[in-house]
């Protein structure tokens, strides 16, 4: 089914010049497209900084809709490491058996609900619900908090397409402010309270710093996880034998998940601000201009991946950058991987067939490129095993 294809939008330009260019609200971006260039630039935080004006390294830029610095992702080393060390243990909790069991219950319940219906929208009835309910585990807050997050819809931080929407973003920011105030009044063992009690470099985190971590936790794992789950379902609609195959070989779930992350690349790219005049891929870039690390292009680089446009569920060596690379690699990756692995396991156990009926694709416009990143809606039928 053509609707289930995810083409490589960057192939021609990656092979020809290694870079792409786009205008982002008057603040242009040079996109790095080769796997090697992307990884090297991601590692070189001195030349390519994340610590710009809050919102500027995100493409499209969010400078007009927020002033809070997202932590640790908009902080460079060495300070980055101080924050990251504080957060690492908390964000590794999805490796614990009790966490996995709770996540299995959450995802199993959503799948059972989907299987009881004739037709569902994978985005709003399945992926959004799993992402929101799973987030209660990551934050360690009561399950019913997810009701409100689900009501926000997929695009609470952005309007349809790419347009930034300050009013929508404000809903999230006000919500987080209120939750921080609640945690100050009544400390618990959730992420808000844990951060409010924490110290970095001998100093208590400020409310603004706590807010910066929470905004990132909400926003970073929202559309990315929703896209990854939805796109995986579309793959099974187009590849009818794949679920049976995974059921017969559950030991491939981990490699399959990494392959889906590579192939779909839920986050297309992330920007950096150039600190000194330099070159990328033999192209001059000026200080205070922006580059972006195009994970989606790097993940299809034929110099690194054999048959890059094919999904190979058992791809054994898969140095993808779907969760970013180097210092700033995705803090939520452990949680996201666990969601994907458990969903895949339960799908194989519970579902015999997924058939997509209607698809409305989510297409990103990136200067000279257009890239399908997922679906705004994906109507499908799910059959029980």
């Amino acid at each position: 089914m053509a609707k289930c294809k995810f083409a490589d939008a960057f192939k021609e330009e990656r092979e020809k010049s290694g870079i792409g260019k786009m205008d982002d609200q008057g603040d242009p971006v040079v996109m790095l497209l080769n796997h090697k260039d992307v990884r090297k630039a991601a590692h070189n935080y001195k030349a390519f900084s994340s610590e710009a004006v809050p919102g500027r390294i995100v493409v499209p830029s969010e400078v007009n809709i927020r002033t809070t610095r997202q932590i640790p992702f908009e902080v460079d080393p060495p300070m980055h490491k101080e924050y990251r060390s504080l957060l690492e243990a908390w964000f590794k909790r999805p490796l614990q058996d009790t966490y996995k069991e709770k996540l299995t219950t959450i995802i199993g319940t959503v799948l059972d609900d989907v299987l009881s219906k004739d037709k569902v929208d994978v985005v709003s009835d399945l992926a959004l619900v799993i992402q929101s309910r799973a987030l209660t585990l990551l934050l360690n807050v009561p399950f019913d908090k997810s009701v409100k997050w689900i009501s926000w819809g997929t695009h609470v931080f952005r309007s349809e397409g790419e347009a930034l929407d300050g009013d929508k973003a404000a809903i999230l920011y006000n919500y987080i402010d209120e939750e921080i105030d609640n945690a100050i009044a009544n400390p618990t063992d959730n992420l808000y309270s844990t951060l409010l009690a924490a110290e970095v470099n001998g100093k208590k985190l400020t409310k603004e710093e706590v807010k910066g971590v929470l905004i990132l936790t909400f926003a970073g794992g929202r559309d990315t996880v929703i896209n990854a789950l939805t796109n995986m379902m579309s793959y099974f609609s187009a590849n009818k034998k794949a679920l049976d195959y995974i059921r017969s070989k559950p030991e491939i779930i981990k490699t399959a998940v990494e392959e889906f992350i590579r192939y779909f690349s839920p986050l297309t790219h992330m920007g950096r601000v150039v600190t000194e005049d330099t070159t990328v891929c033999e192209h001059a870039v000026k200080a205070d201009s922006r580059i972006s690390l195009c994970w989606a292009s790097a993940n299809r680089d034929e110099k690194v991946f054999e048959n890059p446009d094919e999904v190979i569920l058992e791809r054994k060596v898969n140095p993808h950058v779907g969760f970013g690379f180097s210092h700033h690699n995705c803090l939520g990756a452990t949680h996201a991987r666990q969601i994907m692995r458990i969903t895949l396991k339960l799908l194989a156990e519970k579902v015999s067939d997924i058939t997509v009926l209607e698809a409305e694709e989510n297409i990103e416009n990136l200067g000279e490129f257009t890239r399908k990143v997922g679906y705004n809606s994906l109507k499908a039928t799910f059959k029980k095993r």
């Binding site: 490796l95 981990k254 490699t255 990494e258 690194v304 054994k316 060596v317 140095p319 990756a333 991987r337």
Partner: protein
């Protein structure tokens, strides 16, 4: 059956044995601190970085190009670095010692 020793950053020595799988899986299954193996062993995350004892380098073998590219960008990597998801457990690595990178 290969007997393998890990030395963690807190200087704990853990010796375990296995007949199959990768050294990363062995470490994760035995809760060796500092080896996470987040990506499940596909050479994508570098959370299973170890140093091979110099006298064991011949037994363990050298890194592939993809592994070397990954290690090149690890701050604390040196000539004894390996990603242990890329090292299969076989009799050839019996009695080898790996020090976990920080």
């Amino acid at each position: 059956m290969a007997k393998i020793t890990f030395i963690t950053s807190s200087n704990e020595k853990i010796t375990v044995a296995a007949t199959e799988g990768s050294v990363m899986e062995l470490a994760v299954n035995n809760n060796v601190q500092g080896i996470d193996g987040d990506c499940g062993g596909v050479c994508s995350c570098a959370t299973c970085h170890v140093f091979v004892a110099p006298e064991d380098v011949d037994k363990v073998g050298v890194a592939s190009e993809i592994e070397t590219d990954m290690l090149e960008l690890a701050d604390d990597a040196n000539e004894y670095s390996r990603l242990c998801c890329q090292i299969p457990v076989t009799d050839a690595i019996d009695n080898v010692v790996f020090t976990v990178a920080k």
